[in-house]
């Protein structure tokens, strides 16, 4: 007993630095954002903020622009994540096979993910420019479109552009996670199925997919959370209007541009809750699946 308690004491001792760091970098900023969201703090004078209760949230909930931003963000996640999952899965299945030059291809696939988003978004912005962009030039020459398209200016098209560039950028991440999952699958099931003469399609749907599901769910959680707080890509690629604004951009606009720290924090808190809600949903789904399988 004595030994047990001293063991647990040692464990706490070893964990303290880690917990402290977590508190400083995660819990404290979060707590402070919660506190600020209930005040009328402004950037130029944070120390003299007044407690104003839920007024920021009441303003936020009646602001059509906020709900526009929420809709934009949810739509962005709903379109980009499934595309990335399907494409990523396809790429992962290909890369899982043994063929010549596989190592090189695996490395090459990661390039879009390795470039910082700001850089690649800027790059795409130039390539997609309506007058001197290379993409319009190519498409016009190929006869695919009659006239250059305003990829980043038209409200509907710029949304499509943002989703496409995001798919380009993050499919490699999805592929990599799923590839790791594929490689960890027990080979004996596949061998047994092959011996029994099960068709490839059946193997995929009955063995590969169920076994891969936990990995897939983790990959989806990562991507969805990333998509819900998307900022840089949209910030660079859109024309700065409310048609493509996401929750993060809305929060930043009020927090940084308008120096309205209290209101911006309220938006950030709501963003936090949306993300938390989605996470809980996913984790529940994952747990049900795992239980169901067992």
């Amino acid at each position: 007993m004595q030994q047990h308690s001293s063991l647990s004491k040692t464990a706490w001792l070893f964990m303290t630095p880690c917990l402290l760091v977590l508190f400083v970098v995660a819990a404290w900023p979060l707590l402070r954002t919660f506190m600020l969201s209930l005040t009328n703090a402004r950037l130029e004078d944070i120390t003299h903020a007044q407690w104003i209760g839920s007024a920021n949230f009441r303003d936020l909930f009646v602001d059509a622009e906020w709900w526009g931003a929420v809709t934009n963000t949810l739509l962005f996640a709903a379109f980009s994540v499934p595309c990335e999952a399907i494409l990523g899965l396809m790429i992962a299945l290909v890369l899982h096979k043994t063929f010549k030059g596989r190592g090189l291809l695996r490395a090459a696939v990661l390039v879009p993910w390795a470039i910082p988003t700001i850089v690649s978004a800027r790059m795409w912005g130039w390539m997609l420019h309506d007058v001197y962009g290379i993409i319009n030039e190519l498409l016009v020459r190929l006869g695919a479109i009659a006239a250059p398209l305003p990829w980043t200016a038209s409200p509907t098209l710029s949304f499509v552009t943002i989703v496409l560039v995001d798919v380009w950028k993050t499919t490699p991440f999805m592929a990599l996670l799923l590839l790791a999952g594929l490689q960890a699958l027990p080979q004996d099931c596949f061998e047994a199925a092959l011996v029994d003469g099960v068709s490839r399609k059946r193997i995929f749907f009955r063995i590969t997919m169920p076994l891969l599901r936990p990995t897939l769910i983790i990959a989806l959680i990562f991507r969805t959370l990333d998509a819900l707080r998307v900022f840089d890509l949209v910030y660079i690629l859109s024309s700065g209007d409310s048609n493509t604004e996401t929750m993060s951009i809305y929060a930043r606009r009020h927090f940084v541009d308008y120096a309205n720290v209290g209101y911006g924090s309220a938006a950030a808190v709501c963003l936090f809750f949306v993300v938390a809600l989605v996470t809980v949903f996913y984790i529940n789904m994952g747990r049900r699946n795992i239980l169901g399988d067992a």
Binding site: N40, R42, L43, E44, D45, I46, H48, A49, Q50, H129, D130, V131, Y132, A147, P148, P150, T152, A153, S154, P155, S158, S238, S239, G240, D241, S242, R253, V256, D257, Y258, A259
Partner: protein
């Protein structure tokens, strides 16, 4: 560690004469190069060192950055390059400069710029260069079609459409009639003020009839004479399109001139500049006062050196050099009569003319809410340009937004006082 660094700095400040200063500088067009050249001369003269921090291209983003630094009372940057609309925010963060310039030196600048840079009778921003939106046009194309530069917006649309149609028919399919800064940011707000003022109205207090007229004009632009793409253009995208020869008219700042006349520019020798057109009946050509100045941070540890740097950068010789080399417009009126400058940039006559009748953005009236007002103006105008909202509804929405924000501005000082004590 901090104490040690602090001691080091203190020792450095008292014993060594050379200080290390930091200043922000924009990187639009040739600005950064010009800034570095001038700063190097000053470094040689004084023995101090200056580190240049480059600012984002967009004025709104630059403001966010500057605001963050100054609100945190950070001493990292000593000299800031600041836009005309930031003055009311800067009032509590910038060092008064009146005492460091002689009355004669001050009187040399355009009064409207000094007035803009002064808060409660104190000059806090030293004028560095002026900016007024101008109309750039393709001399060769206008001549080809027997047209002279337009004086009214109606004229502009007619000429733009005519040249665009004919040139497209003869193979130049990418040509557009009229381009401007249409991204939802400060650059578009400038245009809106110009459109409204050139129709004889004012944006604040909002003159409904004239604003509707100006918006009705905006609604006719896309896709007749302007590409949908303008909605994502800032200064440099406008220059890109115009410099490639793909636009007849461009509405932008004068810095564009030198670059369109550079050796590698496809439109070299084919560009003309004039004042902006006016609305047909009751208008006047109206350009917004743009341009940037320099201010010294109150939190700077090297204020004396910083003020000297500001004096060096804003003096007449330096403004002359910047004007000659890169067509940045001087804030000193005598320079517009300078024979060398006039010979190099014949269009300076128009700039001087525009500066005489320049209009101010409503930054003073809205104080710290200005960036929010500006965002609302730009956003509403984008909707008008897209025809997503009628000019009437847009004018009404704008009026509402501005009134709400103005009310907030006039109300806040009281609460601020209450909290401050």
């Amino acid at each position: 560690m901090t104490v040690f660094l602090g001691l080091c700095c203190a020792a450095f400040a008292t014993h060594a004469t050379a200080a290390v200063l930091k200043m922000t500088c924009r990187a639009k067009g040739q600005e950064l190069t010009l800034c570095k050249q001038a700063v190097q001369q000053w470094e040689k003269k004084t023995g101090h060192t200056v580190e240049i921090v480059s600012l984002p291209q967009s004025s709104s983003e630059s403001f966010a950055l500057t605001q963050q630094q100054l609100s945190a009372h950070a001493s990292d940057v000593d000299v800031y390059q600041v836009d005309t609309t930031w003055v009311s925010f800067l009032s509590t963060h910038a060092v008064p400069l009146d005492a460091h310039f002689s009355a004669q030196e001050l009187a040399a600048h355009f009064p409207v710029i000094l007035q803009n840079n002064t808060v409660n009778g104190t000059l806090i921003v030293a004028p560095w260069y002026a900016d007024v939106d101008m109309l750039f046009y393709r001399k060769d194309l206008l001549e080809k079609y027997g047209e002279s530069p337009p004086t009214s917006w109606e004229d502009l649309l007619r000429i733009a459409q005519k040249i665009q149609e004919n040139e497209r028919a003869s193979g130049h399919v990418r040509l557009w009639g009229y381009i401007f800064r249409g991204k939802a940011y400060e650059g578009l707000t400038c245009h809106v003020v110009e459109w409204i003022e050139s129709f004889g109205g004012t944006l604040w207090p909002l003159d409904t009839d004239r604003v509707i007229q100006a918006f009705a004009f905006c609604a006719r632009l896309i896709p007749t004479t302007s590409p949908m793409g303008v909605l994502s253009y800032t200064e440099e995208e406008v220059r890109g399109v115009f410099q490639l020869g793909d636009a007849v008219f461009a509405h932008n700042w004068p810095y564009m001139w030198t670059l369109t006349q550079s050796e590698e520019s496809p439109v070299k020798g084919k560009v003309g500049i004039t004042v902006l057109p006016q609305g047909q009946l009751h208008g006047k050509p109206a350009s917004v006062l743009g341009g940037w100045g320099l201010c010294v941070s109150r939190y700077s540890n090297h204020q004396e050196a910083a003020i000297d740097l500001v004096r060096w950068l804003t003096r007449s010789e330096e403004q002359h050099r910047r004007a000659l080399q890169a067509s940045y417009c001087p804030t000193i009126h005598a320079l517009y009569q300078d024979p060398v400058l006039c010979a190099a940039h014949p269009f300076f006559v128009h700039v001087a003319r525009a500066l005489e009748t320049v209009v101010l953005r409503p930054a003073g009236a809205f104080g710290r809410s200005y960036s929010q007002v500006s965002a609302s103006i730009a956003n509403v105008t984008q909707k008008v340009l897209l025809k997503a909202i009628t000019p009437e509804a847009a004018a009404q929405k704008l009026d509402q937004d501005m009134k709400t924000l103005h009310k907030r501005v006039t109300e806040t000082p009281a609460t601020q006082r209450a909290t401050g004590q």
